[in-house]
């Protein structure tokens, strides 16, 4: 059940703790780009001794080791994404949902060859999602 996450932690020589496994599982099963508070509130139900600081520490570590990805699209809070493969995000300013966007750009390689060392690429699009557009009519 947790083998997949366990493997990811071991590959990076990170200690395997129940908290980290639960957080990874939650992120894997909830691809809605949750905040620390969302993760915490939900995991606390079955793990009452969980501390919010642990969630902060864990997602920071998992992000540093490229096991998960952090998303700063809203500006109000950091969100986390289990999917760390190259993909991008759309924020609906009406419903607040963050939708995955898959585009690749032929120019991107040019970018990556510029004078700076580029480790992360984030594209954020903002507007109104198609569901909210339909409701508006």
């Amino acid at each position: 059940m947790f083998e997949k996450y366990l493997k990811q932690l071991k590959e990076k020589n990170l200690k395997v703790t129940p908290q980290r496994l639960e957080i990874l599982k939650y992120l894997d099963e909830h691809r809605t780009h949750p905040t620390v508070d969302e993760i915490y509130q939900n995991l606390k139900k079955n793990n009452p001794s969980l501390s919010k600081t642990t969630v902060y520490n864990s997602v920071e570590t998992l992000d540093q080791y490229n096991i998960i990805q952090s998303i700063t699209i809203t500006g109000n809070e950091i969100r986390y994404d289990f999917n760390r493969e190259m993909h991008h995000h759309f924020l609906c300013k009406t419903c607040g949902e963050i939708i995955d966007i898959d585009v690749t750009c032929p120019m991107q390689d040019n970018m990556l060859n510029c004078k700076h060392q580029i480790d992360e690429v984030h594209w954020y699009f903002k507007g109104i999602c198609k569901n909210c557009l339909e409701k508006e009519r």
Copy 2:
């Protein structure tokens, strides 16, 4: 001296206040993507009665009316950019500087024609800037 900013405000039917003019001037002359606090601390020197809430309110309004642009690259705080023309940003994780990046992508039009209504496009790149790379050696 303030004619340019005055015109931008009047075009959007926004009231012209000394605070808004000073904030616009500061952002125009400091293209370093400052935070609210940076703007506030600097303008306070010559305008001791300035309130930080005014800076928050003003940048929010200016952003809403597309006079300035907000940048959420760091996740810790919102930064503001006088230049609202299409351009992108690179965050150096070593020195913290945010550098303008000018790339356009032929795929972008495809994106803009997708099912969602896209109002804003932000590309954020993170890594180590060329200055910091040189110092590392």
